[in-house]
Each structure stands twice: as C-alpha cells, then as structure tokens.
Symmetry: C2
Subunit: 312 residues, 2 copies
C-alpha cells in the first residue's frame, strides 16, 4: 500500500475525522488532502478558513473532537473583550485559534499564497500528510434562502445557526485549482470524497472545471455523510429534499455525485438506497480514534476491490 497515492476531498468536521484515520492508515507521502475554501470569510479584520483549520487541528491532534469544532482546552478571552466593546461575537473565535488567523492574515497581506501559508501551518503543527487549499483564488459559498434572501455561508450556518431554509447554493468568484492541487490529482491512484456536505463542502472543489477533468480519470470513492436518512452533523439532511427533490439518503448523495463515482461507502443498512454502483456497508460514525482508523481501512480496502468506473 506504500505505493498508492490517495487524494482526499474534505470539508470540515466529518471530512477531517476520516482524513485523520487515513493519515494513520497510509504513509504521509501517500496522502494529499484538498480542502474546501468556500466557507472562508473575513471577520474582525482576520482571514478565517474554517475547513482548513479544522483539518489542520484534527490532523495535529489539537482539535476538540468532543465539541466538534475548534481547539481542545481553548479559551475565549479575546472574544469576551470584543463582546464587552460591542463587537461581533457570534463567531466563536478562540484565543489559540486567533494565533492562526493573525498569522494567516499577516502572511496573506505580505503576498504569500494560501497554499504556502497552509503548508507552513502544517509543518509547524507536525502534520505529516499534504494539506492543500483547493485554490489560491477566492471563492465564496452563498446560500439562497427561502425567506431571508442570499446569505454568506458563515452568516447562514453560524450566525443564523443554519435555520433559514436553503433553496439554492451558489459560488461567488472564479477559482482555479493551484498547481499543487493539479499535480496531486495527476499523480493520484485513488480519490476519496470525505463524508462532508456535498453541496457546501465538496461542490466548491468540484466546481472547478480542471478538477472535474482530472477526477474523471480516477477511481473515486465517496463516503456518505448521511446515515439512516440523517446527517451525522450539520444541516445536510434538510437541504437534500429542497435541492435534490428527494428524501435524504446515502443514495441521494451518490446520485448527486453521479457518474463521478466508482463506488460508495455507506452506513450498514443504507446499502439499498444506492443504485447502479458498487457499495460497501460499514460502521461510518466516527466517535473514537479507532473508529476513524477502522473506517479509513475499510474505505481503502473497498477501493482496492472495485475497479475504476467514473465517466461511465
């Protein structure tokens, strides 16, 4: 397995957890994560990349996996003072986390690319595998809601707690994949799509035509973020009925990715919802480090068994 080159598409929490398992199942040089930047935003003058940070913190062992976001033993003292001054405090900016945002913002202002900056963070945090932002360009996910117009992603998810009903998702800006992303895809033997929200975490990556083209040649396995008709985390289960005109299921996610997929890994019992595609049922909820490693190994073994079928 040391010769295998795996590229992994990731959003935030769920995606980062399986990635952490893969990072332990594979040699560091075999694994590259391409991470969504559609959630990125500017807040209090800081450039914040929630998915990249979740991935880095999870891989480095610093993440608070119980709470589901941010850093373990995090404190919020800067935010307390911001709040006392009447500043915006709806986004939970932790004190340690601020160190990341401050350095990213400074380095961006000095002209460094998001890729270079992310690699610096990864090195400093002893992250072994390669973590790449999907692009050095700017792309922002916009949420069209039924009753509150179009909201920026963080506005919708965090400030409005994902409550406003989503009727559409669009991407603002034209992002091209970085050279590092294209090179990783060109060399890959296998692409794994993490159990992230397809609409807001994976589609931003797939919205780049050069990525679509590169992926069409690859064996592609997706892991379902829907378990028994419900999202493990986040608002996905509510989005599918409106956006896909069908009930939430692993099969709905498979159908969304369509001909891109060579196979799908779903929760045990969810197999019947997936049609016309090799499917593997296994325990997909990752509560412990063992869960993450075991699912990673199951995904890799399933990928080994199936043959490439994308584009068919």
């Amino acid at each position: 397995m040391s010769e295998l080159r795996v590229v992994y598409l990731s959003g935030g929490v769920g995606g980062a957890r399986l990635l952490e398992g893969l990072a332990r199942a594979l040699p560091a040089a075999s694994l590259t994560a391409i991470v969504n930047i559609g959630d990125d935003f500017e807040h209090l003058g800081l450039s914040i990349c929630p998915d990249i940070d979740t991935v880095l913190y999870t891989l480095s062992g610093l993440a608070d996996l119980k709470r589901g976001w941010g850093l373990r033993d995090e404190s919020f003292r800067a935010l307390e003072l911001v709040s006392r001054y009447g500043g915006e405090s709806w986004f939970q900016l932790g004190d340690m986390d601020l160190g990341t945002h401050l350095m990213r913002t400074q380095w961006l202002s000095e002209g460094h690319s998001l890729t270079t900056i992310t690699q610096r963070f990864a090195r400093a945090l002893d992250v072994g595998c390669s973590v790449l932002p999907m692009s050095n360009d700017r792309l922002r996910t916009r949420i069209e809601t039924a009753h509150e117009g179009t909201l920026s992603f963080q506005d919708w998810l965090v400030r409005r707690r994902g409550v406003p009903q989503v009727v559409g998702v669009t991407f603002e800006g034209t992002a091209r994949p970085s050279p590092e992303v294209l090179q990783a895809l060109a060399r890959a033997d296998l692409l794994i799509i993490g159990p992230s929200n397809p609409y807001v975490s994976i589609d931003p990556i797939l919205s780049m035509p050069d990525v679509r083209t590169a992926i069409a040649k690859l064996k592609v396995v997706a892991v379902s973020p829907i378990v028994g008709g419900r999202a493990v985390k986040g608002p996905l289960a509510d989005m599918i009925p409106t956006l896909a005109k069908r009930s939430a299921s692993a099969g709905a996610v498979a159908a969304h990715y369509g001909s891109l997929l060579s196979g799908m890994v779903v929760e045990l019992g969810d197999e019947p919802s997936v049609h016309d595609l090799p499917v593997e049922g296994t325990a997909t909820i990752m509560r412990t480090a063992d869960d993450r490693l075991r699912l990673a190994q199951a995904v890799l073994q399933f990928a080994e068994r199936i043959s490439r079928t994308p584009g068919t």
Copy 2:
C-alpha cells in the same frame, strides 16, 4: 474642588497610576487625560496603542499593576501559536488584550477616529473620566541610538529591551491635537504632567504647537519620574545624561520642561535638585491604591497653593 477642571498628560505605567489616583480624588467630569501616541505601532496587522491601553486598563481596574503592564490574569495562548508558526513573539500580546487591538483595528479601518474609539473603550470599561489620545493623526517616536542607527520606539524598548544607548529622540509625522484635546485645554484650570518619561512620553504631546500655546496660559505642575537619581521604571535615568548633558535628577526633569512649569512635585529629599521653581517633596512611589490617591491629593493641594507662573 468640584469646579476645578484638570487636564493630565500621561504616558504609560507611571502616568497611568497617578491618573488612577486623580480619578478617585476628583469628580469624573473634572478630569481629562491626554495620552501619548508616540509609542503606537502596527504588529501582526493590529493597531496597538500601548499608552492608551495602559491608561484604560489602569483606570478600569483591569491592569496588572504588579507586573507593570497588561491585564490582570492575562493569558498568552494566541501568542503561543503565533510563536509556534514562527511569527513575531517579542511583543507580549495577551489574549484579552487582543480583543482591544482587534476592535481598534477594525474600527480604524471603518474610518472612526482614534478619539472616538478610545471613548468607546472607556465607556465599555466603565472609565469615568475623559481619556483622549493626544491626536487623531499619526506620530511615531523614533529612537536614535549610538551604535544601532534609528529604531522605532517598540523595537528599541521591547525588542531590544531599551539596551541600545539613546543619543536622540525624534518624532515622525505631523500631528495636530484633536478638537477634544484643544477644548479640554481651553477649559482647564490646571495641567498636571504625570511622572512619565519626558522625552518619549510627554514630549510627543508637547511637540504639537497648538498644545504648547494652550498650555502657556495654564498653571502647570509636573510630578518627577526620577526618584533619588533613578527612574522608578524604564530607561529614563540612562537617557538624561546623554540627552540633557547632566546627571539624572528631578531637577533635570524640571529643567527639561523649563518655563512651562508653575511647580514640581518630587520625592522627599529630592527638593534641592530643583531650582527657581516652587517644589513639593512627598512620597511619589505608588505601590498601592492608597499611595496613588495620596499622591494625587498632594499634587492637587500643592497646585492649589502655588500661583500660575508659566511663560515667565
């Protein structure tokens, strides 16, 4: 005493302590502090005003008076991560403190004046008296050193720990006093110059011609930052011999302010060093809240006893 209008010129730590005593000795409406901005700098993309913050934190009771700078019970977790990433960590940015810098930076970028921002902070921190930056313009203290060329103030004081020998102090930029500063001076009955470093904390304020003109009409009392030939805090005692060509003493400070002064408050025993000026000897080292209040009262009583003599 409720009719008296006092304006106080302040640098950082020493100046802030006496100001805190004055704030308890006088009704809030009677006291206005004009604070040095020559130490201000940009760091990690943040606009930092060390003297204004020290004044606000001291008046609000949040300051760490034992350590001598920053906030009580402060933590430094953002800085830990900045340092881990290889960012600049020579300036001790506390987590709570970051809340102040983040809001100031954001409000400045939105076009608010430093005066407005400082007033917002003061209100949020329950500071009763008026705290005014000396100007809304930019003025930066530059330190000419004997062997390392010209350094920015924080570079010299914090990064280089005030070690490089000072051969000159200059101010970069042309600052004009804000309307609020001019109004406070126009209405003042008494000006008190705090026990701050005259060269780097008070001279930036006095370098503005309109302030000089307004002060010429006022009764002016300075409190000596030199006690028995030594500075209570900071590098002042080493600066006087080079910059004033005489040994460090309360008298050297009085001579520096020259005809501006109506009288001088010095440490008991230091009176003989001051010539041709009403002088009051008292305990000037402020370790406790009682010390601060007692010195404030002594300064106010001394000022009441002497008549106006500036400009003579």
